[in-house]
Amino acid sequence: MATSHNPSLLISSTSSNLCYSTITGAGSLPGSNTTSSPCAACKFLRRKCQPDCVFAPYFPPDNPTKFQNVHKVFGASNVTKLLNELQPYQREDAVNSLAYEAEMRLRDPVYGCVGVISVLHHQLRQLQDDLNRARVELARYQAAANLIGNIGPGSALHAGTGFGHEQFFQPQNGTNHQTMFRGLETGGINVAYNDSSLAAAIGFGSLTSGGLHFLKPSTVGGDERPSQVLVPF
């Protein structure tokens, strides 16, 4: 475990602990050479990776692109300052969100992540319009069914059961939800449902950087995210 870097393990939800132990050699065999490979940040910056390197837990050496992107957009010193202002349990999500935004900025130098948000908002508005239209149509059917008088104890159109809503639409272990979620493509951002990471909500199936999988908005530290869209300048 100390010397081999299994990408799937690194990408799992407990990647931070695994990465840290891997990088610092905490998992190495006793008596063996404890010089671990430097993290991607120190490799890129061509400096010695100290045991307390702030980047090491979050930028494993087998994913150099992640740090290169973050460095290109934000700069190593800015990232260091940002991370130092956060609690340790918040840092992994912060790094992963920075990596995501850096990736989006490099893909779209003009709009970056803001462009993704615009596309998603547009999609949401269209869906809400479709939903309103569908509700109106359903109300018409329900009204017509009531007028016709197809209401009875044995009738499948019994209004009390909501036309058998519970009977006829049963999400199968959430698969309908997941299937729809998986099919969502947004400007090349494939929203894949992955219950181990922040990628569940963002989607990194289409990224070529070796998979930037994030933790879910943290349940670990109870981090509070803003509940409303912030208005830029």
Partner: protein
């Protein structure tokens, strides 16, 4: 005095970036058009998150006609990151994706209900074939279903 006044005059024309960085604002300062001195907080946010050098480099790499939008989007991202240091703009992406997902779910449910109504209407309009038991559809037994009028008095199928 006059020279200091002229120096003062030129200093007063510095953009927010050059003021913050305490340097002379060149005529061709790439940041000046997008970070006016009237909004110092805009540049401070951007500088804190991206760094002045990175912003200048990114803007220089973009055609001039698109630099205003780029500066605005950088400012927006920087502002959101300052407000939410952990998730920044990514938090908005997550939230919106979740809303999209729940809306799609609800839409699918309502469309399924509509399909059931349509299927029911179609079934009731067709008389059962002679000699065969009444068809058992996905809606369950239709034994108690009254006969449907062949004409559509309410004209809602059109």
């Amino acid at each position: 005095m006059s020279s200091s006044n002229s120096v003062e005059g030129s200093y007063s024309k510095r953009c927010a970036a050059c003021k913050h960085l305490r340097r002379r604002c060149a005529e061709d300062c790439v940041l000046a058009p997008y970070f006016p001195a009237t909004h110092p907080e805009r540049f401070e946010c951007v500088h804190k998150i991206f760094g002045a050098g990175n912003v200048a480099r990114m803007l220089k790499a973009i055609p001039v006609q698109e630099r205003a939008q780029a500066a605005d989007s950088l400012s927006a991202e920087a502002y959101r990151r300052v407000q939410d240091p952990v998730y920044g703009s990514t938090g908005i992406v997550i939230q919106t994706n979740q809303e999209i997902s729940s809306t799609q779910c609800e839409l699918a449910k309502i469309r399924a209900q509509i399909s059931m109504y349509e299927a029911q209407m179609a079934t009731e309009q067709q008389p059962p074939p002679p000699g065969l038991p009444q068809q058992q559809g996905s809606l369950g037994s239709q034994e108690n279903m009254p006969m449907f009028e062949p004409n559509d008095p309410f004209n809602f199928l059109n």
